[in-house]
Every structure is written in structure tokens, then in C-alpha cells.
């Protein structure tokens, strides 16, 4: 049944057509006038007495006549209104016309709301629910709107009463691809509610309506991580306002998503193979398993690969690619569409250089092959040729003394092999190199002067120390071998399942004992058999560093002669090169950031950003600690973001691509058990479904049957009372 649109003083009418009979209230007047014309006429002798009596009774007679007319007209009006079956639409208005409610709508616009349900997305259904509630609100009510996905954003923060404007705003909102942060959301709502009470004293009631798809996982995580804060915020909110949680969408049991996509290396040279591996996860109970994934390079379909289902809910796939063009490339894996198609795509950015440049600083530089400290490293970096400038890898070797004068910004990797000491100036150079995304690899050796390295490990003023720890001694023991390997680290992941071979039990005669400090977080990738750190990895701003506490040649260990040497060096290279590039593949909500070391540029470079929707902005970079930096935080939608830089020379060149992917927390659409979870965190909240709200709003007979019948009954009783009063007045005074 269509909802009647006639709304008068907070009442609507089930049969509004009957109100067209309201002009019938003039019938008593017409009858009165007609009766006067029909009076019997007669002659009368004693007119003086009639006139005298009239003079006495005129006022009373007139009053009686007007009162009776009014009563009769009112009776007709009451009868017509009662017959039209009025229904109280806005209880607040019915109780007091000036009473007003402050509505705060919280619209869940996280990724999972994009899932389709009954022909439209949960997000569209949520907007419809809010719009219906707004249309049925009281005339003096005000409205605010908060978008719940991270970060919670006020779309309408100042309470407005213009419902048309509010509806237009809702109509234009798009769903974001970020995840939920329910604690931040509730805190924002609580703060707003408290301010509304102060700023709008005419509001007598506050209602918070959270419209969500009831995804269990975000609530689960919020309860686990922030349970105490969530409960206290919810308690306070329940005291300030009525809390309603409206569940949209039907029962969804399954979703398939690409939950991992990694490329190694992220920086490679032309025609160098990069391997892309990924994972497909199935959430919920479904027998459907995608057999293949499609690959796209820069939006162009390249091929397919098969998904290997190792378990019912997780499959893996792998693909290799040899890029032929330099520059940034977005490699995407996609599945066919399902209930939530946005997470069926995932991308990773790979940067292809004409050549990857490595600079080896050799502490025992020697023209004689394999007499220096870096030869084995050089070969391992470019095993195709001993020459330093062939293939995709350019390896240059310089003696230690030339480090300070070299332009290290030309290189992608610096490798220190048995370098005796690092001067403060050189330490600053290396720190800058790391900060801008470069890779640093340090090997120990007999020439290393620990004190010089330890100075670099100490904080210099406000600058962070270069190294994550101190060298505390040289260990010399014939029984030491390489030992435990942390196969979770990307450098040694290839050794997973190869525990008895590979990097373990490699004899090491000497090594530098390393002691990590808290000043720079680091991770022990591998240890010696006695537990001392063997390989240490750390991240330094955009760059990455690796310390191998033994030598790069055979002076302290036979590791360079082992088969694992080349793969190890290649993995170390891939990992340290990916420091700056790992920030190119993000999750929605993470900021895009760029650091540029532009020489001789005094004017701020202009950044031209083209987002995933194709919209472009221009912004200027800022100079921070000698480097131009820029950050963009509104990564609310998945896709490829392109950044171009205009430097002072007015050259426009593409600098970076960013691939923004969906957050993994939004892929599990299951809602089973969410009500109990929410009620633990939000006691006192009322749980309703969107279907129930729609039924209530569309069927006021049921909703208003109580109030409608009661109202009609009241009107009819009033009519009866009026009729009795009319009869009494009509017959009173007649002798």
C-alpha cells in the first residue's frame, strides 16, 4: 500500500480522500438560513411585549445560536476527520508540536557494503533506509550524517533541518573501499551528540541510527583490540541518545577474494624476471572455486594462470613476467565477479629500470680477482657476466676511500664489503640514501673497526642512528656454523621447507657479534648455531638495510662457495630494493607519500595526482630535512593512482604509480553471531532489520493501527460528547 502523503500537524490519513468532504461543515449554516426563510408568518397585536422580551433575551439567544452552529459544524468536522482514519506519524510532534528530535545517522560506507543483495548493493539499501526515515521525521527535526568507514567522516556535521538538502547529500554519497573503525566512529558520534545538546536546546530527543551490513569481523576485531574503550563509549552514548542499529542486506554466506599478491623483485631491470605470487581465499560455505585468475599489466589482459587449491578455502597462484619497458607498471590479478567484486582484484606496482645499479664499496680493493672483498658479491649480483655493465644489473666497485666523493644517488643499492670505518659524513650520506628509498647491504670482515660503526649506531642530535645496534666483538671459533633461519622473512622465504640444507650448517670461522638496540627496530633473519645474529634486516624510512655479520668473501667463511650464496644475494638485493617500492602497493586508507631528492631545485615541485576515478589534482611538495616530500591521504577507493611531477625545469615526467587494494578485513562477509557481539559492546542498543523498518514505514495501518484506532476512537467519543452538549443546549432555555 502506498503511504499516504498528506501530513498535517504530524498526522497522516489512511483515507485522505474523505477529507474532501470538510466543506460540509457549512451545512448547519445553510440549514439555519433556510429555516429562517421558512418561518410561519402571523399578525401580532402585542408587539411591544415581543420587542421588550427580545431586548432582554437578545444576547443569550445570539450566543446560543452561535454556539449551536459552532457545535454542529465541529461535529461534522470531527466525523469527517474520524472517517479519514488519522494516524499519528511523528509521536514527538503529537505529544508537543514544538518537540524536535536530533537524528544522527551513521552510514556504514566500508567496502563490504558494496556487496550486492536482492538486486542492489547494501550501501544503496542503507541509503534508502535513511532517506525513508528522514521523510517520516517530524517537521522540526534535525539531521546529521557520519560516514563510518575509516576514517569516520562527517558528511553533515552541523545539524540541518532542510530535509530536501539532506536527502540530496545522501543521494550523492559513494561507498568507500576502506574498512570500519567502530570505536573511532562511536567516539565521533558521542562527541557530536554532546555538542548538539549544547548548541540546539530545542532538541528534546536524540536518536542515533547506525545502518550497517552487520559484518561480524570488524566488530570482532574492535571488541578484541578496544573492548574496554568501546564499552565505555557505548555506555555514555546510550545515556545521551537512543541507539538503533539497523541491519541491511540478506544472509550472505560466501565471498571469494584475492587476499595476497606479491612481486619479487619489486624493482628489476628490463627483461629480468619478476615472480608474482598470490592467494585466493574463500569465506563462508560455498563449493564454487575459481579455477583461474587473469593477469593484467597496466590494465591490459596478458594471460591467465591456474589456481592451485591446497585447501577448501585457500588457493595459490603464481606467474612470472619479464618486463620489456622501463617505468612503473601495475600488475593486477583478477577473478570473475561475485557478490563483492571489488576484492576480486588486487594489484602490485613493479618498477622496471633499464638497469639496476649497484655500487660495491670494497674495503680490500684489489685488481686481482677474488682478492678483494667484493668479488663474490659482484658475481652473485650479476651472475650472467663478470663485466660490470652488461645485462640488467650494473655493478660498480670502488675502494673505500672514494665513497665520500661518489654520487651514490645514481645507484639503487650500496654494498659495503669489509669497509674499515664509516666517517660521520659518510654515515650521513648513507642515511640520506636509505631515507630516499635506497638499499644498503653491509658485510663484515677483518678490517672492520667496530668503534667507527658503533658511532654510526649512536643518535646524532635529532637524527636517527644509521644502524640498529652495536658491534661488540669478533668471535673466532671453528665450531660455529650458520643455524636457525626465520623463514617468514622475505629474504629467506625461499628456504621454507629446506631447513636441513641451504643456509644452515655453513661453517663460519669468524663473525662480528652484533647487539641490537631499540633505537632502530630490526629483525634477525638468521642466526648462528650459538644464537648470535647472522643476518639482520631493518627498515629506515623508505630504505632498507641488511647486515651480514661475516665476510663477503672466504676470509671468514666459506659461505660464498655454497650454492645458497647466489640465491641469498639475489633475495637480499630484491628485498633492499623494494624498500621505496613497498609503499607503492597500499591498502585503502593508507596515505600515498613521496620523497624526492631533486638537485638544484629551489622551487617546490608541483605534484599532479590522478586518482583511481580519473580525477586530477595539483598540489605542491614540501621541503622537509632537505628532501621534497608530499603525502596524499584520501585513498578511499581501490585502483591505480598516478603521480606526475613538474619540477622547476617544467619537465613533466611520470614518477610513480600506486596500487591501492582492498583491506582484507572487509572480505569476510559473514554476519553470523554479530548480534551477540554488538550487544556485548553496545548494551542497550536496539537491533532492527531494514526490512522491518520498511514494513513499519510503508504500512502505517500496522504501525499506526494502535495509534490510528485510538485516535479515531477519541474523535468519535468527542463527537458523541459534542452531540450530547448540542442536544442539551438546544433544548435548554426553551420553555
Amino acid at each position: 500500500m502506498d503511504k499516504p502523503e498528506l501530513l498535517i500537524l504530524g498526522l497522516s490519513f489512511l483515507d485522505p480522500a474523505i477529507l474532501l468532504g470538510l466543506p460540509a461543515v457549512i451545512i448547519p449554516i445553510l440549514i439555519h438560513l433556510w429555516n429562517r426563510r421558512r418561518h410561519m408568518e402571523m399578525n401580532w397585536a402585542a408587539m411591544e411585549f415581543v420587542l421588550a422580551a427580545l431586548a432582554i433575551e437578545r444576547r443569550r439567544i445570539l450566543l446560543r445560536e452561535y454556539l449551536l452552529l459552532l457545535l454542529r459544524m465541529l461535529a461534522i468536522a470531527l466525523l469527517i476527520v474520524a472517517a479519514a482514519r488519522p494516524v499519528v506519524e511523528a509521536p514527538a510532534v503529537a505529544m508537543g508540536y514544538q518537540a524536535a528530535t536530533g537524528w544522527i545517522f551513521v552510514l556504514d560506507d566500508s567496502l563490504s557494503m558494496e556487496q550486492s543483495c536482492r538486486g542492489k548493493s547494501c550501501f544503496d539499501e542503507a541509503r534508502d533506509v535513511i532517506m525513508r526515515l528522514v521523510k517520516h521525521a517530524g517537521p522540526a527535526d534535525t539531521f546529521c550524517l557520519l560516514r563510518a568507514a575509516q576514517p569516520p567522516t562527517w558528511e553533515v556535521e552541523l545539524a540541518i533541518s532542510d530535509r530536501q538538502a539532506f536527502l540530496q547529500i545522501i543521494d550523492q554519497i559513494k561507498c568507500r573501499h576502506t574498512r570500519n573503525d567502530w570505536l573511532a566512529c562511536l567516539e565521533a558520534v558521542l562527541g557530536r551528540t554532546q555538542r548538539l545538546r549544547e548548541e540546539y536546546p530545542q532538541l528534546t530527543r536524540f536518536v542515533v541510527v547506525i545502518v550497517t551490513d552487520a559484518q561480524r569481523e570488524p566488530w570482532n576485531q574492535a571488541m578484541k583490540r578496544q573492548g574496554a574503550a568501546l564499552s565505555s563509549t557505548a555506555d555514555e552514548l546510550a545515556r545521551q541518545a537512543e541507539l538503533i542499529i539497523c541491519h541491511v542486506g540478506g544472509d550472505r554466506e560466501s565471498n571469494t577474494a584475492i587476499t595476497r599478491l606479491e612481486a619479487s623483485p619489486l624493482v628489476c631491470s628490463r627483461n629480468e624476471e619478476t615472480v608474482i605470487a598470490g592467494q585466493v581465499t574463500v569465506f563462508g560455505n560455498t563449493t564454487e572455486r575459481p579455477a583461474t585468475v587473469e593477469w593484467l599489466i597496466d590494465g591490459v589482459k596478458i594471460g591467465e594462470s591456474r589456481v592451485d587449491w591446497k585447501s577448501p578455502d585457500m588457493g595459490t597462484f603464481i606467474w612470472s613476467y619479464r618486463p620489456s619497458r622501463p617505468g612503473d607498471h601495475v600488475i593486477e590479478a583478477t577473478l570473475s565477479d561475485d557478490q563483492l567484486s571489488v576484492d576480486n582484484r588486487r594489484g602490485v606496482v613493479v618498477t622496471v629500470h633499464d638497469q639496476v645499479r649497484a655500487l660495491c664499496i670494497d674495503g680490500r680493493y684489489s685488481p686481482i680477482p677474488f682478492q678483494g672483498a667484493s668479488d663474490y658479491v659482484r658475481l652473485a649480483l650479476a651472475p650472467e657476466s663478470a663485466a660490470s655493465k652488461t645485462g640488467g644489473m650494473e655493478v660498480q666497485v670502488i675502494p673505500e676511500a672514494r665513497l665520500a666523493e661518489s654520487d651514490i644517488t645514481r645507484f639503487d643499492i650500496l654494498i659495503l664489503c669489509d669497509v674499515a670505518q664509516i666517517t660521520p659524513g659518510e654515515a650521513q650520506l648513507l642515511a640520506d640514501f636509505l631515507r630516499l628509498g635506497g638499499g644498503l647491504v653491509i658485510f663484515g670482515g677483518p678490517r672492520v673497526q667496530m668503534a667507527a660503526y658503533n658511532r654510526a649506531a649512536e643518535p646524532q642530535g635529532t637524527a636517527r642512528p644509521l644502524f640498529p645496534g652495536r658491534l661488540v666483538g669478533i668471535v673466532n671459533s671453528p665450531d660455529i656454523t650458520t643455524g636457525m633461519v626465520n623463514t617468514r622473512h622475505p629474504i629467506v622465504r625461499i628456504l621454507a621447507g629446506w631447513e636441513e640444507g641451504g643456509l644452515t650448517k655453513v661453517p663460519v670461522r669468524n663473525y662480528l657479534r652484533f647487539q641490537p638496540t631499540n633505537s632502530v627496530p630490526s629483525e634477525i633473519v638468521a642466526r648462528y648455531s650459538n644464537g648470535d645474529p647472522f643476518i639482520v634486516a631493518w627498515e629506515y624510512d623508505m630504505g632498507r638495510g641488511v647486515l651480514i655479520t661475516t665476510s663477503a668473501d672466504t676470509s671468514w667463511t666459506s659461505l660464498p662457495l655454497w650454492p645458497i650464496w647466489v640465491p641469498l644475494i639475489q633475495e637480499i638485493k630484491a628485498w633492499v630494493l623494494s624498500g621505496g617500492l613497498s609503499a607503492r602497493t597500499l591498502v585503502c586508507g593508507q596515505p600515498l607519500s613521496l620523497s624526492m631528492a631533486l638537485r638544484n631545485v629551489r622551487e617546490a615541485p608541483t605534484i599532479v595526482l590522478t586518482d583511481a576515478e580519473g580525477t586530477s589534482w595539483r598540489e605542491r611538495a614540501e621541503l622537509v630535512d632537505g628532501t621534497w616530500q608530499w603525502k596524499y591521504t584520501q585513498t578511499d577507493w581501490t585502483g591505480v593512482y598516478k603521480i606526475e611531477i613538474d619540477n622547476a625545469n617544467n619537465e613533466t615526467r611520470q614518477v610513480a604509480l600506486f596500487s591501492v587494494n582492498t583491506p582484507l578485513e572487509e572480505a569476510d562477509l559473514r554476519s553470523q553471531g554479530w548480534e551477540e557481539m554488538v550487544q556485548k559492546g553496545l548494551p542497550g542498543a536496539h537491533m532492527v532489520s531494514a526490512d522491518l523498518i520498511n514494513q513499519i514505514l510503508e504500512s502505517p495501518v500496522q504501525h499506526g493501527s494502535g495509534s490510528g484506532n485510538t485516535l479515531s476512537r477519541v474523535l468519535l467519543l468527542s463527537l458523541l460528547a459534542l452531540v450530547i452538549v448540542e442536544i442539551v443546549i438546544a433544548h435548554a432555555g426553551k420553555s
Partner: protein, 276 residues
């Protein structure tokens, strides 16, 4: 009807002011001191007044109101006020003439339309009746002027009977009666009304057209009845008060009352008063 009334009378209750001494009666306050018998006082130290036999030349002038209001007749009444007044006047004239006294007739509204001086004789009654039959109610009442003129034109002291509805200005009426009494005439008021005029028993809203007052008023008699009756009662009290104050006999009759009962009652009352 009249003869039947008169038959029961042995002596006319209409007493004139002749010199034939009839009897003494004890003095009562208000009696004319000219008729006190001082001889009796001298003998008895008590006051007595003389009563005289009526002379056959009693003069009775019957004035009948023929204004428009006298034409009113309600649905339930057998006669209109005018018709009732005609009968009353004719009956009174008959009574007077049957006693060998003189009777005259005046028919008036704003002024006299008929003024037949009191005469005696057999043809006088027919003349009175004929004059009454010729007239019909019309015009307004100027009671004060009419009574004043009657008092002046009747040089011989007598009885003036005024028959009408007296829907007039009571001040005028009082002035007129005072003049009549000042001229030593005896006055008798026969007040004739319709029951409806007294009780206003109409049951439906009605548009009333005034017979003498130029007015049309739509009323619901059920709403006005109470106030109307109060006004009528006050009016009747005032007339009675005026008549009583001027020693004028006041007889009220409605058109539904039988005339012979009214006359009989009045004549018996008058005889009783005159015999005291």
C-alpha cells in the same frame, strides 16, 4: 345573554349621584366628605355617609377601542378582541337601557369615529348595535386624547366604560383616566386580551407582523416565552395599579372566556361593593 344577566338583578348596580336619600352606611376612609351625614354625627358621634337611589337619568358612555390591535384573533380563540368588545359594549348598553337609564357609544382609534351621546329609549340600543356593526378595527390608539375628549364632552356626570385591549402607553392611559375621574365621572375598564397575547404559547419559530407597530420580527417563541410573560405580567400589574389608584373598576377578560360569566361576575362584584 344580556337579558339573562339583567333578569337576575333586582336593583341596578349602577348607582348615580341623585339627591334621593336611600340609606346610611358607615364612613370608610376615602368616602367623599360631602356625603357625610353631620346630623347623624351630631347625634351619634359616628360618621355615616348617605347613599342615594340612582336616578333614572344615569348616564353611561361606553367607549370601545377600534384600533388595529383589536382585530387580533388567535387560532384557538372563538372571537377576535373586536368582536368580543362589540358584544361587551352591546351587553353593557342593554343593561343600562333596560334600567331606563341613558347609554351612549363612542368608537375610537386615534380619535372618535363614532360618538353617540347617552340617550334613553327603545331605539337607542339598536342604534348602538348598528354603530358597532359598521365599524372595524384599524389605526392606532390614542387613549389619552380620547378619554380627555370624552370627559369634556360629557357634561353630565356619569359612568364611562372603556372597552379595549389597552396596548398603549400606560402614562397616557393614566393621564386620561385621571382626567375622567377629575371630571367626576366614574370609570370602568374592561380589559380584553387574547390568551395568546398573555401566554405566548406558540410552539414554532414564527415571523410576527405588528398590527399597530410597523415591525416584522422572526422569533422562536419557545426561547422568548419566559421573558414575554414577565413583561405581560408587569404590564397587567401596572394597569391594575393605575386603575386601583384612580378608583377605576378593572375587569380583565380573555376572548376565550364566556362574556356572560364575566359580566355576571363583575355585576355581582359591583353590587356587593355598592351595598357595603
Amino acid at each position: 345573554m344580556v337579558e339573562g344577566t339583567v333578569t337576575g338583578l333586582h336593583r341596578s348596580p349602577f348607582h348615580g349621584f341623585s339627591v334621593e336619600f336611600a340609606e346610611h352606611r358607615e364612613y370608610s376612609p376615602g368616602d367623599d366628605l360631602r356625603y357625610v351625614d353631620w346630623k347623624v354625627f351630631g347625634k351619634t358621634d359616628k360618621f355615616y355617609v348617605k347613599r342615594f337611589e340612582q336616578e333614572t337619568n344615569l348616564s353611561c358612555m361606553i367607549l370601545v377601542d377600534a384600533s388595529a390591535s383589536m382585530g387580533f384573533k388567535s387560532h384557538e380563540a372563538p372571537l377576535s378582541k373586536w368582536e368580543y368588545a362589540q358584544c361587551t359594549a352591546a351587553a353593557l348598553a342593554y343593561i343600562v337601557l333596560a334600567q331606563q337609564d341613558r347609554a351612549g357609544l363612542g368608537v375610537f382609534a386615534e380619535q372618535y369615529r363614532v360618538f353617540a351621546r347617552p340617550e334613553t329609549g327603545g331605539g337607542q340600543w339598536q342604534q348602538i348595535v348598528q354603530l358597532l356593526e359598521k365599524e372595524s378595527p384599524a389605526g392606532k390608539t390614542e387613549i389619552g386624547t380620547v378619554l380627555h375628549e370624552a370627559a369634556e364632552r360629557l357634561t353630565r356626570r356619569g359612568v364611562i366604560v372603556i372597552v379595549g385591549d389597552f396596548l398603549v402607553d400606560l402614562n397616557q392611559l393614566e393621564r386620561g383616566l385621571k382626567y375622567v375621574r377629575y371630571a367626576n365621572h366614574e370609570a370602568i375598564v374592561f380589559h380584553i386580551l387574547d390568551d395568546q397575547e398573555i401566554f405566548f404559547d406558540l410552539q414554532q419559530p414564527v415571523l410576527l407582523r405588528g398590527l399597530e407597530v410597523v415591525s416584522k420580527v422572526g422569533v422562536d417563541p419557545r426561547l422568548l416565552r419566559h421573558a414575554y410573560r414577565r413583561c405581560v405580567e408587569e404590564y397587567l400589574r401596572n394597569i391594575q395599579r393605575i386603575c386601583h389608584g384612580l378608583k377605576v373598576d378593572y375587569v380583565r377578560a380573555t376572548t376565550r372566556e364566556k362574556l356572560d360569566h364575566v359580566l355576571r361576575e363583575y355585576l355581582a362584584f359591583r353590587r356587593k361593593i355598592k351595598s357595603i
